[in-house]
Structure formats: C-alpha cells, structure tokens
C-alpha cells in the first residue's frame, strides 16, 4: 500500500497541478496574513476606543437613579484574535447592542431596556461585493476545488490508459489500491497546505500587533484538523465519482457540478428557500406592538393615578412600578422579535448543512469566534450582564437604610453617591468548551459525510469492472 501511495505521491509532486495548487495556496495565505496584520490592529483599536468611551460615560455617573435610568451605555462585541480564519459576515452582523427608553406618558419614561436595535454599515456601502480571502475561503472553496482536481482522474485515468488492469493483475487487494491512492493524494495536498498555513501563522505571530495565546493556538489546531477532514471528504468524493465513471472528462464535469452545487447552490439558495418558511415579526409590526403596549400602559397608569391623588407615597410607588414594568415589557417584546429572527436564521443554517461547505463554514466560525453563533453568544453575555447590572442597582438601594426602596422614581431611591468602580462592567467572553458543544453536531456530520463518501468509493471500486 505504501508503495502505491509513494508512487502516487511522486506522480503528483512532479505534476503541473501540484505546482499550481502550491502557488495558489501560498499566494492566498500570504494575502490573508498581510491583510490581517494591516486590519486587525485598527479593529482592536476601534473596539478599545468604543469601550473606553462607554466606560467613561458610565464612570461619570454617581447617582443611583441616573445609573438605573440610563443603563450601561453601548455594549460592544469583542473582536476575535482569530479574525483571519473567517470574517463570518461581520459586516452584516451588529457589533453593538443599544438600549432604549420608551415613553409611557408625556413626561414619564421607562427605565432602560435592551432593544437589540441594529445598524449595519452595509446599507451605505457602495463597494463591490466580494468574499473576504480568509481561511474559510481558502479551505471551503479553493481546497475543495484542488481536491477534486487531484482525484477526478485517479481511477478513470488509469482505466483509460490501461494501467489499472496492469496493477490489478498483481496480487494487490483492491482496497489497498484505493487506500494508497487516497493517501497519496491526501499527503500531496496537505503538504503544501500545511506549509502555507505555517507561513501564514508565522507572519501573524511574529508581528507585535497581534498576540495569539495558548487558547488561540488550540483553536487553530482544531481548525486545521477540520480542514484536513474536509479535504479527505472531497478526496473520497473524487475517488467515488472517478471509479464509477468511464471517462476522465465526464468524471470532471460531474465533480465540478457537485462542487458548484455544494459551494454555491446549497448555502445560498437553500438558505433563502428555508428562510421563507418562517415569518418573524417585521419592524413595522414591532413598532405597532410597541406603540400599543406603551399607550395601554400609559392609559392604565393614568387611570390608576386618578385614585391616588392625595397619597404621595402610593403615587410614588405606582410610578415606580410602571417605570420598571414598562422596561420589562419593552425588553420582552424586543426579545421576542430577536428570538424569532434568530430562529429563522437557525433554521436556514440547519438546512444548509446538507452541504459540507456550509458545515465547514459553521465549524471554522465556531472555533474562530466570529459569525452568527458567536453573535448569539455575545447577545447572551449581554443579557447576563443586564441582569447583573439590575441586581446591582437593587442591591445598592437595599443597602441604604435611608432609602424608601421604590425603584423607578428619583425620590424613592437611595441618594448615596455610588462608587463608579463598583458598577459592574461588561466584558465579552468566549469559551472554547461552549464552542465545542455547538460545533459537535457539525463535526459529526462532517465525519459522517466522509464515511459515506469513502465507503461509497470503496464499494464502487471493489465492484467495478476493469
């Protein structure tokens, strides 16, 4: 078997396709590294400026009522140090979560709540649309194409030349031939890939601007493993088609068509079709429900206020109740909309898993800490933080014996100045174990694809007539 693998390897190493593939991989990885070194410091700087501004505004507040009324300012998503692995559609995903206050009556506003409004810079962008050259692009698109080009003629070509018959005339079992061919192709593609990846990482890690810690290296290791698995999958597919088909040209056309459908058709078209199945709340509907909610709350409040004309304490309590209730209801409504939108995307993303390209995109996104799953994690972090922040306000108020403990009204809350450093600060975190859990399904699916294709290739090759 090693003999066959060696022969394949020598064959490939001397071929034109090996040279072209190597040049292509190195060129792309070099571009990726250079661009990352240029753009990443800017991105990190922007993030730091933004959080410093938010923190400064937060620190400027010492009054508990102000803190409770206006909330924790803008919350920003932390850029991943592994941004060069994949961009993950960052231009269309919001990087900031806003807070809102809503008007209950003419001069009464709710406390802050998370409204998940988003603003994407893309609607002002007039530059041509392209895919960013990142690892995802190199692995998902280019590597799979290279895998096809290396295997489409591995069996049908030998059959055309008649060398297959010659080889099988020797006492070599067929599966050994298949495995040898597979290993030969795998080694001859993964060698330039590994070198290109190492060059890319070398350039990135040598620079002072970008620091990669131990966890980042672990993540990179997993991404590389995923890349190799994905490569195996396409090699197996190539072998499968090549052993079923009589002619080289037919094998190539079929493989290219499969490739195009996997890469282009399924991830986009199927996602569009799948997203048509659910209808999340539109913005207009949201506005309408929002306005109705607050006008109802306002009427209710006014009606109940009539009965407390002479009772200042109860008036205060009533106002406080509506201020907090209004915020909770507003947050629930916007959360409902967000959940519906996320569910729509989730569904579309699950459907696209029919394509290994989409699976690999999900996996790389998960481990690089970008993309949609990462965004959901960011939203969850923000929600946890919002809870913590509100608890802090409650605790501070309870700790003050002089306070009337009516949260929602200035007179009803503690007047003691708050130490700005004690206010909880938002910190966006990423955790590998969680990412691994969300990615486990994708990883399994990828392995399953590989097993199916490889056993298909084995069966096809064993039963084929030479």
């Amino acid at each position: 078997m090693w003999h066959i693998a060696k022969r394949e390897l020598y064959d490939n190493l001397n071929s034109l396709r090996f040279a072209l593939a190597t040049v292509l991989l190195f060129g792309l990885m070099l571009t990726n590294a250079v661009v990352h070194l240029r753009e990443h410091p800017v991105r990190v700087q922007k993030y730091h400026d933004a959080i410093t501004e938010s923190l400064n505004r937060l620190r400027a507040r010492t009054d508990l009522y102000e803190i409770a009324q206006w909330g924790p300012e803008l919350l920003h998503k932390k850029p991943s140090p592994l941004h060069f692995c994949t961009d993950g559609g960052d231009i269309v995903l919001p990087g900031t979560i806003y807070q809102s206050v809503s008007r209950i009556t003419n001069d009464l506003y709710t406390f802050w709540y998370l409204s998940y409004r988003y603003r994407t810079p893309n609607s002002k962008n007039i530059r041509p649309a392209t895919i960013k050259v990142d690892w995802e692009f190199v692995i998902g698109y280019v590597l799979s194409l290279i895998a096809i080009l290396f295997t489409f003629d591995s069996i049908s070509g030998e059959r055309e030349r008649g060398t297959l018959r010659l080889m099988l005339a020797n006492s070599i079992p067929r599966h050994t031939v298949l495995l040898g061919k597979f290993l030969g192709a795998l080694i001859s593609i993964s060698a330039p890939l590994t070198l290109a990846v190492l060059m890319n990482l070398l350039i990135i890690s040598v620079s002072n601007n970008v620091q990669l810690d131990a966890e980042a290296w672990r993540r990179l290791g997993i991404v590389f493993f995923v890349a190799v698995l994905y490569l195996c999958l396409f090699l197996a597919l190539g072998l499968l088609v090549s052993s079923r088909v009589q002619q080289n040209a037919t094998s190539l056309v079929i493989l290219l068509l499969i490739w195009v459908s996997f890469v282009v058709f399924i991830p986009s078209t199927l996602a569009s079709i799948a997203s048509g199945f659910s209808n999340p709340m539109t913005y207009d509907e949201y506005r309408e429900r929002h306005d109705r909610l607050y006008s109802e709350l306002g009427d209710e409040y006014n009606a109940r206020l009539q009965g407390t004309r002479e009772l200042p304490t109860e008036r205060m309590q009533l106002t406080g109740e509506y201020v907090t209730k209004g915020a909770a209801r507003g947050e629930r409504l916007s959360h409902e909309r967000l959940n519906q939108e996320h569910a729509q995307i989730q569904l579309a993303r699950s459907v696209t898993r029919i394509s290994p390209v989409a699976i690999v995109q999900h996996l790389i996104e998960a481990f690089a800490g970008t993309g949609f799953e990462r965004h959901r994690q960011f939203v969850e972090n923000v929600q946890d933080y919002a809870r913590e922040y509100r608890e802090f306000v409650g605790d501070m108020d309870r700790a003050d014996p002089d306070s009337p403990h009516t949260i929602g009204v200035r007179e009803g809350m503690s007047k003691k100045p708050v130490n700005p450093e004690a206010v909880p600060k938002f910190e966006d975190r990423l955790s590998l174990s969680r990412d691994f859990n969300t990615a486990a399904v994708d990883l399994l699916l990828l392995v399953l694809f590989f097993v199916v294709f490889f056993s298909g290739a084995y069966l096809a090759f064993v039963r084929v007539e030479v």
């Binding site: 194409l145 080289n248 056309v253 207009d284 995307i345």
Partner: protein
Amino acid sequence: MLLTLIRRELLDNLMTFRFAAAILIMLLLVVANTAVLIKDYERRLEAYNTAVQKHRQDLLETKTYSAVGLTAYRPPNPLSIFNVGLDKRLGNTLRVSYLYVPTLWDAWKHGANNAYLNIFASIDIVFIFQGILSLLALVFAYDALAGERERGTLRLVLTHPVRRGHILFAKYISAMLCLLIPLLMCFLLVLIMLTTSASVFLGTDDFFRIGGVIFTSFVYLSLFYLIGMLISAATRRTGTALMLAMFAWGFLVLVYPNMILTAIETDPHTDTETSVYNQIKQIWEEFDRERKQFLANDPVPGEDWDFGLWGDDGYTFWGGTDDSSKLLYYESTGFHFETLKEESEPQVPHAQNYHRFFGLQVTNTADRTWIVRKPALEMIYVQPAKKEQMLLKFSPVGLYDSATEAWTGTDLSGLQDFFMAGQRYQQAVVDYFLDNKIFESRQWFVAAKGEIDWNMLPQFSFQRSDIGTNAKRALPDLFLLLILNLILFAIIFLIFVKSEV
C-alpha cells in the same frame, strides 16, 4: 467543408453525458433561484407599496407645513432578478427636507425585515452564468485542439484540402452553438417565470435590456471558450490543458476578484472627513448666529423664538443630525400649535416675519453645505468604489458583472439616478415653499386642517433611466469584452497555424 466540420463537432459535443448533466444542473439552479428571486422581489414591491400608501396617508393628516415629512421611496427594480447589484443593499427611503440635500448615504431601508438574513449571499441569474457556464465553456474547449492532436485525428483532418482557419472557425462556431442552447434555455425559463408572475411588470425597454444581458452573457461565454481554446492550442497534452484551464478558471472567477479587493488598501480619508465636517458645522453655526442676531433685533421684547405665542396642544421641537461619517450636520427648531389663543394674535406677524427670514436663510445654508459636501462624499466614498470596480475589470468576470449591472440599472450610476431624482425633488419642494411664501405663512406653525391642499405640493416621481442610457453605460465594458475576444482569436489562429501537427 466548413459545414461538415461544424456538423461533426456539434454531434460530438451534444451527444455527451457531460453536456446533458450540465444542462440539467443549470436549469435546476436557474429555476430554483428565479423562484426565490421573484418571491423576494414581490416582498420588496409589497413593502414599497405599503410604504408609499402610508406616507400618503400621513401627509394628508399633517396639519402644518413645518411638520410635513416628505419621503421619496425607491421601487425595487424588476431586473434585479438578473443582476441584483446594489439594488437590495442600498437604502430605499429618502427623507426630503429643506434642511439638507439628500444623498445615498442619508437613505435608509423600509421593509428591511430580518437583517441577519444578509449573512447568506444572494445569488442572481448572472452569478450562475458567471460561474457555471464559464466552467462549461472551458470543459468544451480544453480538448478541442489538444485532444485531436493527441488522438491523431487532427493530422487526419489536415490531410484533406481544408484550411486551418476553417477548422478553428468550425470548432468555435459549433461550440458556441452548443453553449447557446443552455444559455437561451435558461433565459427563456426565466422570462416565462417572470411573465407568468402577477407582480412583475416588464416594459418594452426591459425586454431590450434583457436582450443586452443575453448578448453580454454570450460574449462572456465566448471569451471563456477562447481562453480554453488558447490553452488547448498552446499545450501538447489534454491533461496539462485541463489543469491549466481549471486553474485559470479558479484564478479568474474565484480567486482574483476576492483577493484583489481584500488586498488593496483603501485610504480612509479621515483628514478630509474631519475638515469638511467642521466646515459644514461652521456654516451652520454661522446661520445660527445670524438667526440669533435677527431674534435679538426683533421688536418683540423679552421673548425667544416662540414669540410669546399661546395656544392649545402646542409643542416645540428640535431636530438635528450630527454624523461625521456621512458629513451631515443640521439643526432646526420650530413650534406647532393646534389652535392659537386670541390674545397672542398680535404676535403672529412677528413669528411670520421670523420664519420668512428663517426660510430664506436655512435653504441658503443647505445649498452652501451641499457645495462643500458633494465633492467630499464623492472623494471619500465614490472614488474608492470606482477604483475597486476598475481593478475588478482585469478579470472578465468583473467586466461581465459591471456590464450586466449597467444593463439592468442596478449599478451605482443606475441607483444614483434615483438619488438625483430625490435631489431634484428636494429642489422642487424648496422652490415651491419659497415661491408660494410657505415659510412665512400662518400654516407653517398653526394647525389648519383642511386649509392646506397637500395635492398642490410637487409629487415625487422616478423613472429608471431609458434604455439608451443603460446601453451607454454598458457599452464600454461590452466593447472591452469583444476586443478581448478578437485578440484571443487572433492569438489562437497564429499559434495554430504555426504549430506542427
């Protein structure tokens, strides 16, 4: 002889399994995507219609001139099904106000539902052709000459008294005929789906535009076929030819466009941005000073701009924007009353006098800021985009894309047509306000239900540019594609004539 050759080639190509498979996949892709795209278009059209209707209702319910919010809506382009370009991405709602001249960067989107959906790329018909048909053309071409040479049939053909040019020509014609079949079938299917859909209306001009798209696609295909043929003529073995052809495709279609745009650095123009923004801010501050001066000289003592008016349900408002990234800054203040108390009637002429001054000055200020803002926006946003477009044109894909965008009117110029219309409309509204002395009218700030005839206001209308303009925008790229075709054919001819069999 030529006919015999063509017939032979045609049969060779048509009767293959690969051809059938390719056509099948193409048709499947086109049908599925057209269905998705038509549905998407219908959704956008519905959102547009609702928005226009709602705007009309809101306008009729407006009670004062100062509270009027005029908005121009951009209808979705039905031809975006062919090449979506910027049609879906850019804003489609443009606020038209006397405070500033509206631009593309001030627009936003109505009916933009789930914004997260943008993480999925949208495919259009041109995108499918760009990728798959070019691949098919290369698959037809790579063994056209090298294959015959390898099998030795080329030598056989050349023993006949047939000219080499004829062989080349026959191969080219027959392959193009073969490629035309899937191309025309796809377009036919799309057209059938478009015309049977109830919501898509296509005019005569649109059919000519689609004709332009088809012709451009044909020229693009021919270019890829010639690239394949060039490789085939220059190499001895089919294996080498195939590899070169595939990598050429990968480079031209997949790698180059993405790599070049990732790699080039765009100048952020931060200095221009800040200086122009400050300039604009200064112009507004100057206006504010003059306004304050005017108020100080006002004979009504002790009052600021509400002139001591009293009324029911009155409110003052402040509007403004302060966005340095799109170089927009303005402020405006005003007030609105449902009814006015009898005793404040003597003050009304003062307020009117102020508003006469205000109207003249504010529109003047808007024009002055526009003089500064227009070239700056051009420099910061439009020029880098044009430069990138230029770089993309080094690949046939870029040429094809921008030519078809120009035909369908979804390119930057096509969309700018709408924003220009918005600017003209803004000018018309301002002129109407000034000519009819709206600013100084009582209805500027006191509600007058039924007194204002909103139908008198200029109406916004937008027509996509005529077919001549589309053609003018598409022709340079189309011409370049044609020239490239000719050059490649000439090179192939030279190589083939000189080559030994």
